[in-house]
């Protein structure tokens, strides 16, 4: 199930800056344009923070580090680790090949636990994201959805996306795509009762020298629980050298990454 593909695609994709004609575009044209303008990032290392806000407005700030690599077959493998505070330090998630295999390292027990089956739907370490959300980084697979350009405003194209997966917890998603930069500005997720459930917003993007942009800060809100998780990246390195066996159970057991 690809619940938040667009969220994670957003994290790991940088899109080119280009003013495009707004006339007579279809949803496929827009997705084509987005794919065209992805920068060639095969590996990346990012440090940042994750702010978790509960229903009473209390905030917890966590330092995070992330690694990702696009494999030869187009799938993406990632490692996500909390660096602080002490209660979650070094809890590390490994996702191989778009979440085909997910492992969680729990330093307190020195154990690596396989996350599979319905366990993928559990939320990850108190955040608004499930294990599957954290792993669905392979990009938007159009064949998994029905989609249609339903509207546009001055700044965005508005595309409705209906998942074909009968087990999806969403009835539909409404995505706003920036008309100038062709990246996702916001996604609204509706539950099976057609109630707006979660909202993903891009809070900050950065324009690069080569004309691409990449996100700096996003926010995922759960409107039912009135909770929020804000992910902010402060250091991003792209196309770095990573050993062939870096994305492995062995690596996530290291004290430092």
């Amino acid at each position: 199930m690809k619940k938040l593909l667009l969220f994670v695609a957003l994290i790991f994709l940088a899109v080119g800056v280009c003013a495009a004609s707004a006339s007579a575009l279809t949803a496929d044209d827009i997705f084509d344009e987005m794919e065209e303008r992805q920068s060639e990032v095969t590996t990346s290392r990012s440090r940042g923070s994750l702010l978790v806000v509960d229903a009473r407005g209390r905030e917890e700030l966590r330092e995070v580090i992330m690694y990702s690599r696009e494999e030869d077959d187009g799938t993406v493998s990632t490692i996500f680790r909390f660096l602080s505070p002490a209660s979650v330090r070094n809890i590390t998630l490994l996702s191989l090949e778009d979440g085909d295999q997910i492992n969680l390292y729990m330093p307190a027990y020195r154990r690596v636990r396989r996350i599979a089956g319905s366990g993928r739907q559990e939320t990850f370490a108190g955040t608004n994201f499930t294990y599957e959300d954290m792993s669905d980084i392979g990009g938007f697979e159009r064949e998994d959805y029905e989609y249609e350009l339903i509207d546009e405003d001055e700044e965005n194209y508005i595309i409705e996306i209906v998942p074909l997966d009968p087990d999806s917890q969403y009835s539909r998603q409404v995505m706003k795509v920036d008309k100038n930069l062709f990246f996702v500005n916001q996604i609204d997720f509706y539950d099976l009762e057609e109630t707006l459930w979660r909202v993903l917003e891009v809070l900050e993007v950065e324009e690069m020298d080569d004309g691409t942009v990449r996100f700096r800060e996003i926010s995922m809100s759960d409107l039912k629980d009135n909770t929020r998780s804000d992910l902010k990246l402060e250091e991003i390195e792209e196309n770095i050298d990573l050993p062939a066996n870096f994305f492995s159970v062995r690596t996530i057991q290291r004290p430092e990454l």
Partner: protein, 423 residues
């Protein structure tokens, strides 16, 4: 003495969270209270776990983890781990750890029969940490990643550390075991204990080997361990007529039989049951032949009783599933517990259910255990509350059914309250 220890704990706690000089130390402060509903006794303890980890190079780390505790009848300071560890050291394909370390084997969430290396303390009940605590052992753990997916792990232990069983409890268990041989009740037996530990040294170490990797979508590991039972078994019992009012007095020499273990562990998804994750451990134990020589009173003829003879199996097979309502269910079938060996091994079913509130603060849970051998049960109801990420408060009420000498009835009834703060 208790007041001095308490003062030290409090001062050290304040120092650890306030002084920059020791800011690299992290840990957890924990208050445990338990109320035994059968005896009415209230017990409490304060523990301070301290961890200090440091990198020596980009491939070498060292760490010290200690527990300072304030509780009756326990050591005030306990080593949780002291280690040196290397990743991609000394060669790119190898990792190692050495020191007083914990080496967890097994995929099962509890009662793993292949998790034989570290001793465990006897758990006072089925509250938080039930069967989860381990005692470190002096050891070297060396792992060679010979392919991307598979590794071979070697464990070398030049010393022997047994399970911690409080002597009063051990005496009671032995009295229950010996009394039927003389047609009396266990209350009529007073037991004196002596222990003979196996000779383990650098030349005669305990050792184990384990290979782990993936087969399809399943993580698997095969293991072999050559060591000794961590629980003591009686080898010689000299029974005398009691002279202190009791009917019998027995001097018991306890020993630790040699044991070889072949293990299989696995965790993964099976297509036959969509959504379920399996975690399981299977172990074959091959004991040395161990018998108990009983010397009755009044120069009657001694006799022997076999305790361990034939190989036997222990198993923990679990399946966990998360419902659409975010209820986590975990069911484990166990053949044998860490305190059952040989003919004593019996079957249990454990069920755990928990559901975290949507804001992640509250988590009510239930854990139930049923012995198929005698129908005794234990049920624990509880709730965890996290006021914030650093604090955790857990209240558990545990109720057992069955006679005190049954498999689970002896756990008794109790209420446990734990409050912890991570810094």
């Amino acid at each position: 003495m208790k007041n001095v220890l308490l003062s030290i704990l409090v001062v050290f706690s304040v120092l650890c969270v306030s002084l920059p000089a020791v800011a690299l130390i992290t840990g957890e402060a924990r208050l445990d209270t338990s109320w035994d509903l059968d005896s009415g006794e209230l017990d409490y303890g304060l523990e301070l776990d301290l961890e200090y980890h440091t990198s020596i190079s980009d491939r070498l780390w060292a760490g010290v983890e200690l527990t300072l505790r304030y509780r009756e009848d326990t050591d005030p300071v306990r080593i949780r781990e002291i280690f040196l560890e290397g990743f991609q050291a000394p060669w790119d394909e190898t990792d190692f750890r050495l020191g007083y370390i914990k080496i967890p084997w097994g995929a099962s969430d509890m009662l793993s029969p292949v998790d034989v290396i570290n001793p465990i303390p006897m758990s006072p009940g089925i509250g938080e940490g039930f069967m989860g605590e381990k005692i470190p052992v002096p050891a070297i753990q060396f792992e060679w990643y010979h392919t991307f997916d598979w590794s071979i792990e070697l464990v070398y232990q030049p010393d022997f550390t047994p399970n911690f069983i409080p002597e009063p409890l051990q005496r009671g268990m032995l009295a229950s075991q010996l009394a039927p041989l003389f047609g009396v009740s266990s209350a009529d037996f007073v037991v004196g204990l002596d222990y003979l530990e196996p000779e383990v040294s650098f030349d005669r170490p305990l050792w184990g080997v384990r290979t782990r990797g993936h087969i399809g979508s399943v993580d698997v590991a095969l293991s072999y361990h050559d060591g000794y039972y961590l629980n003591p078994f009686p080898s010689r019992v000299d029974v005398m007529v009691g002279d202190m009012g009791e009917m019998f007095h027995a001097d018991v020499l306890m020993g630790y039989p040699r044991r070889r273990m072949l293990g299989l562990e696995f965790q993964g998804e099976l297509r036959a049951l969509p959504g379920a994750t399996f975690r399981g451990d299977v172990a074959l134990f091959i004991p040395e032949h161990w018998s108990m020589t009983v010397v009755p009173p009044n120069k009657a003829e001694s006799f022997e009783e076999d305790i361990l003879r034939d190989p036997y199996w222990k198993v923990a097979l679990g399946v966990d599933y998360t419902t659409d309502d975010n209820i986590y269910l975990n069911m484990i079938y166990a053949l044998g517990t860490p305190f059952e060996e040989g003919d004593d091994v019996s079957s249990y079913l454990f069920l755990q259910a928990e559901r975290e509130s949507s804001d992640g603060r509250w988590k009510p849970f239930i854990t139930s255990g049923l012995s198929f051998a005698d129908g005794s049960m234990v049920n624990a109801l509880g709730v965890s509350y996290m006021p914030d990420l650093d604090w955790n408060i857990t209240l558990t009420a545990s109720f057992a059914s069955g006679p005190p000498d049954s498999k689970l009835g002896g756990i008794g009834d109790g209420i446990f309250l734990t409050a912890s703060y991570v810094f």
